[in-house]
Amino acid sequence: MTTIHQYLGPLIAVIVAAVIAYVYTSYLSYLASKNEIIKEYFRDLDEIEAMVGEYWLGPHELPEHNVRLTTVGHQLRAKLSSTDLYSDVTKSILGEKIYSKYEKLDVELFMAATGGNFQTKAMAPCPATYGIVVSKIHELKSALQEARTGMFWKR
């Protein structure tokens, strides 16, 4: 009996420490997973920016580039469509305030990147459109960065 009581205190301390370590490690893993998802959104935006540059600055007036630029147009449209913005996972990752800002910017990006003469016979290089789209992309990245830093440093 005396032996058990001698070890009971340290045993409880070890168990409590293990539980705290487990909870904290799980929380850090959770934050790391959220961070990885946000990094994927960054990569999506990088891909979109590259395609937008090729499409909106490309020489559409030159027939030898038609196939490539047409392909880029379809890829851009598909990429924009596939970004999984509107899932509940995304909402929970970004939080309400940042999500509503991101949603508005996402629509503006879509309208700019695939508007105007996109996929029409009148399509021609348009640096102004490219500038607008790139600006929207960087605003989106800024919103993502805000979400990312907010995960670790609460104000």
Binding site: S81, F110, T114, G115
Partner: protein, 111 residues
């Protein structure tokens, strides 16, 4: 008044593209003139609302959406007030909400 005239955009095309006939067969002007305008007229005549489902369409370019839906107001086939009261856009899936928002942006800034 609770009934809808239903349009499934995917039946027009699963990959609509462009603004007019020179841009391809399944363009925005054709969808507007052959599908939307008759549906708007029917909705007005029968005092029904109009519901457009985006489900089943693979993706959109906003040039198509502007020509089709913004064009309803720009070409005076329907007023903004009528569409705001009687048009329902059904995205079909969460990620298509951006198309629904874009459609309303085009309708609201047209004319």
């Amino acid at each position: 008044m609770g009934e809808y005239i239903m349009i499934e955009l995917a039946k027009f095309s699963k990959y609509p593209s462009g603004r007019d006939a020179g841009d391809g067969d399944f363009n925005g002007a054709r969808f507007r003139d052959e599908v939307l305008v008759p549906a708007v007229k029917a909705a007005q005549a029968q005092n029904k609302k109009l519901k457009v489902s985006l489900s089943g369409v693979m993706s959109f370019g906003s040039s198509f959406l502007e020509e089709a839906f913004g064009g309803l107001v720009a070409h005076e086939a329907a007023t903004k007030a009528f569409l705001q009261k009687n048009l329902v856009i059904e995205p079909g899936q969460p990620s298509y909400k951006r198309y629904e928002i874009a459609i309303w942006n085009y309708i609201n800034k047209a004319g």
